[in-house]
């Protein structure tokens, strides 16, 4: 239960969601992550700490670098994210199916 809570609050921030989206494309260093977000390294590091704490990302040691990548929970969160967007769109299109059926009926009624 604690983990789920931590994951939810970690994902509540748009920058952290964008960081996850970037990591979904592959491993990245703090520098690489900071660049597109126009944020300072400490600010990015703070976000990374939250994501790590929630178990969404992990770090690797490579010399002086600490590249981050998605953890299994992070990959699942990304999949869930796409699934939720898909569901919101599906709800719209299911409603459109009804609208279209209504239009057909009206057309037939006029004939």
């Amino acid at each position: 239960m604690y983990n789920l809570d931590a994951a939810f609050s970690a994902l509540a921030d748009p920058t952290r969601r964008a960081i996850l989206a970037r990591l979904a494309k592959g491993e990245a260093t703090v520098n690489e992550l900071a660049e597109p977000f126009e944020m300072t390294q400490p600010a990015i590091s703070q976000h990374l700490k939250v994501l790590e704490g929630a178990g969404l990302i992990v770090r690797r040691v490579e010399g002086t670098k600490r590249p981050r990548r998605l953890a299994k929970a992070g990959i699942e969160a990304m999949n869930q994210w796409l699934a939720m967007l898909r569901k919101a769109l599906e709800t719209n299109y299911d409603r459109l199916d009804f609208v279209l059926a209504g239009m057909e009926k009206q057309k037939r009624g006029k004939k």
Binding site: L89, L96, E104
Partner: protein, 154 residues
């Protein structure tokens, strides 16, 4: 049966496809006639679209306003670039949250598919970061629904 597909392509595209049982003319009209749009383009349960204005000609503007009836709301404005009844719509749009998001360029095609229609929507965002932010906004709506469900369980 899943009728809809949603996938990302390259760094900046999102492609959505969906099949409908009605012919392209009806699906096209449902995407351009305000009275029809207001019936389905609503997002999560509880949201309505009290304002829907479409100036359906190349260069024409459109405006969609949503509200959740509890003081929450946002709107989208856009311009039509190309309109080919009943096959194709090309437009740009941006969300106002209230600051405008970068333009999303969208081409929507309606192709006859047996007695129905295959719709293909191709979104192009200016860059990967904007695409991530757009997908994240969709997630926020999904999460809102999740929270509501969660509240119901507690």
């Amino acid at each position: 049966m899943s009728k809809m597909t949603l996938k990302t392509e390259g760094d900046t595209h999102v492609i959505v496809t969906r099949r409908f049982a009605a012919p392209p003319e009806a699906v096209y009209r449902a995407h351009t006639d305000p009275k029809l749009i207001q019936k389905w383009l609503l997002g999560p349960e509880g949201w309505t679209m009290p304002v829907c204005i479409t100036e359906t000609k190349p260069g024409g503007k459109f405006r969609y306003e949503w509200t959740n009836g509890k003081g929450g709301g946002f709107h989208i404005t856009g311009e039509y670039l190309e309109l080919e009844p009943y096959n194709r719509i090309v437009h740009v749009e941006r969300m106002h949250l209230p600051d405008p998001t970068p333009d999303n360029h969208i081409e929507t095609r309606f192709e006859a598919d047996g007695a129905g229609t295959l719709m293909t929507m191709r979104m192009t965002l200016p860059d990967g970061k904007t695409r991530a932010a757009m997908l994240a906004t969709g997630m926020e709506h999904g999460m809102e629904a999740s929270y509501v469900r969660l509240e119901g369980m507690l």
